[in-house]
Subunit: 161 residues, 2 copies
């Protein structure tokens, strides 16, 4: 990640802080226990990259820094996307849905251009065909390179690669 850029963004003026708080106040976090789904879509291709969750703090940080920050429900803490792998995302646009309970980010995927913790461009690399889920994409990177503690425990042992 460009540390220079992040540092620069973190020192934005108070007005920017107020703006992110104002926008956050209109999101319905309560409906789903304090978090909303946040969808990341590639800003150029439109490919859907991943779905994660944001609490209010993650949303405000994303707006302030311009880097996608989610809330990890399994770890119960902010998840600055790319903090371990370098696969961070810069945000080009933020949309909200009609019910104000889902966020859509248009992002540029950096690092190894793998949004998925399994090393694929997109988390949606399996397609349904004849009653089974088939991997149809090619890995961009072996996530083992990020170290043994990287990512989260997969619960998809049933799904073959």
């Amino acid at each position: 990640m460009s540390r220079g850029r992040r540092a620069q963004m973190e020192t934005q003026p108070a007005s920017q802080q107020a703006a992110s708080q104002q926008a956050a106040s209109q999101i319905d976090f309560e409906k789903n226990g304090g978090v909303v789904p946040a969808i990341a879509q590639d800003y150029k291709s439109g490919r859907l990259l991943m779905v994660a969750y944001m609490n209010r703090e993650a949303f405000e940080e994303t707006v302030k820094t311009g880097h996608a920050c989610y809330f990890s429900r399994s770890r119960n803490r902010l998840w600055r996307k790319g903090e371990e792998s370098g696969n961070y995302q810069t945000v080009h646009e933020i949309r909200i849905d009609c019910d104000a309970d889902t966020i859509l980010l248009s992002v540029e995927q950096h690092g190894d251009r793998a949004a998925c913790h399994e090393g694929y461009e997109s988390c949606f690399f399996r397609v349904l065909s004849d009653g089974a889920w088939h991997t149809v994409d090619t890995r961009r990177v072996d996530p083992a390179k990020y170290g043994p503690g990287y990512g989260h425990q997969s619960k998809t042992a049933k799904l073959a690669h």
Copy 2:
């Protein structure tokens, strides 16, 4: 909706039934109280149209019929998209994410080509700018045409059009 087509799909052979059950058995519905987020993306443009939820029954019906069927959490029943408005969706492809807890549908939007109950092509018609959410799309249809009982109560009184 083409009733002829739906009727034809509902009489598919038992093998199709078994296939949808097999695929459903690999989805992690338990993680989120029996439902998973289901994202509908336009099959041609890639535009993200809406995010709803599916329980196991909704997923299996979607696979069997080829028409998007969701589970309405507010009404606590199956929601055959377009049943009131005619704005149904035919499904071109179904993907699942790495954690098997989110579904991605590639769909063709029919009827008035408005996936959103507010009459927009997409539910994501508001963009964040300077701390406020701004409507940047044009309505495709006035949903009043579908009758007074159409849609669900909006909880977004704070968000202006």
